[in-house]
């Protein structure tokens, strides 16, 4: 009875699932039929439910790694940039890039469906504090207006990124740039 082997299999399967979900989310949004994700992964639907009892669990799993990367970038940018505002601007750019690239993610962020609460939680817990630190530093340096809420700004950037890829006439990045410019003291 070698449980290690099993776990290895299960993990491999889970990764296949995550990749498939990411791909389908990108194509059809996070509301995509479970069946489609299963088909993309080449597994049965039951397998998905075994690994991710609710859709939210799957979504969170899909994006956790990328959110983590984003969170870790905050302190690094703060250390390596020429100033707090520059760090802030670059982090927001990076965050926006992440959202725009992962089509559909920004839309999920907007949804207040209970099923997505886990995802919201992840953003609030991991990213909002990082952004708050950047804002505090920049405000402390007198580079931006004081009193800006990290959560609101995060949501604002997220909102601006929604639908970027589905409308060629819209350009989320230019709007984010405007927003960042507006932060200036």
């Amino acid at each position: 009875m070698p449980p290690a082997r099993k776990r290895a299999d299960a993990q491999r399967n889970e990764q296949v699932l995550l990749d498939a979900a990411a791909s389908v989310f990108t194509t059809s949004g996070v509301d995509a039929p479970v069946r489609d994700i299963a088909a993309e992964a080449g597994v049965g639907m039951g397998t998905i439910y075994r690994h991710f009892p609710t859709r939210a669990d799957l979504i969170v799993a899909v994006y956790r790694h990328q959110i983590e990367t984003c969170a870790e970038a905050g302190p690094i940018l703060l250390r390596e940039s020429t100033g707090p505002y520059a760090a802030l601007a670059r982090w927001i750019d990076m965050f926006a890039d992440f959202l725009v690239t992962k089509h559909g993610l920004a839309e999920v962020l907007q949804s207040d469906t209970p099923g997505f609460a886990a995802l919201h939680g992840l953003f609030v817990e991991r990213l909002a504090p990082v952004l708050a630190d950047l804002l505090t530093a920049a405000a402390g340096a007198g580079e931006i207006k004081p009193g800006i809420q990290a959560y609101t700004l995060m949501r604002g950037v997220g909102n601006l990124c929604a639908g970027d890829s589905s409308d060629p006439r819209y350009d989320a990045r230019s709007m984010v740039t405007l927003l960042v410019a507006g932060l200036r003291a």
Copy 2:
């Protein structure tokens, strides 16, 4: 041949329908089941289909009046404000107010569902030109950066307003203010 009386009834009913739809759109989004709207209005579902053959027709009807008001405000503000930028800022505030107040409208703007094409068209045809005039005037006066697209800005403001009312921690208006500040030359 006294159809006038009939029409009075039908019009009253149509207004009831519009109010009900606006209310339900706010609560459940514009994808709300037709049955729910009918129930809210206290009419049969067939009545909705009689008045508004497609869902798009209903949505457009619900918001047409308010969009019209917004469109007419542009030239007036340009005339009465202290300068083009002030007019622009006030118009955007007004527009954002409209979107935030009419819960659910901003969300519709994002959707690229074919059923909402009529609504998108209304925004593009009526509001984008108004905003474009304001931008041109402000850019001509050297008050804002040049090269900002009316459509993109309209979508950006719309995006910022999405979900404002469903999340007490988010404040769309402050983000719009930031965006408007970012327009400054």
Copy 3:
């Protein structure tokens, strides 16, 4: 209070209705939406229901006159033709012509929907006896096989005529000719 005038109006209206129904039946079959018939007649749907409480009543009314003509032709043909079989053959041709011309009528004959009972009754009461007389005469003259049931033959011809106009590869008349030839002793 001149009721004659009223009746004249009502009759005119009824005729308009019959014409419209005949036209719509031809185009869309006897299952056509009541609304379509009303529209074709240029009256409200309520008017149809006032004149013809059930759909069957309308159908019967539409075709009564033509059935009557057909019924009256039987004895005349028997008198004027060169022999009973010739009269029979010509009557069947005439009957088939009637059915083929009034698109949709043959189909109704097949239906055993209770709503069409009245129409069936009309056929059975008026035409079956006429055909029976023709069969009796021809059988009596030894020109056809004995024992053929008028009702069955009437239904057979009716069936052969169904769908004639909707399928260019089918030719009801040639089949009716075959059937009539098969009657020969």
Copy 4:
């Protein structure tokens, strides 16, 4: 990867579905609500849609086997009968029997609903050529009139069989006999 077991279940279920559909088609015609068929089969509606995505698929499946049998009988009869006309007559009897037995099938043949195109195709492709061969043989032997179209005759027989079982006063077989007699040179 043992899909064989699964398939056994699915096949059993499919057969249940086919039987139920045949039964309901007989009772209520091929336009019967999907729900009714599902109820008769004792399965959910979704199960029907899984097995037969369109109604046409179900209808074709219901009747395919029997049509096949009929098609194969043509050459056999031609070989084993005392002459081409005898073979033709026996084949038509067999065909009529098939239609009369499978209540509702003749009615489907008449319909030109697009959804039934697949079934029509099956008849045209499989049975019309068989009948054409029989006709050619009989005409070649001088036993029947020349120039009779296989498709028209097939449709004629089909028409004669419609509604046989729903009207005790009608007897499709006797009419088919008449038609076959009428083929004689």
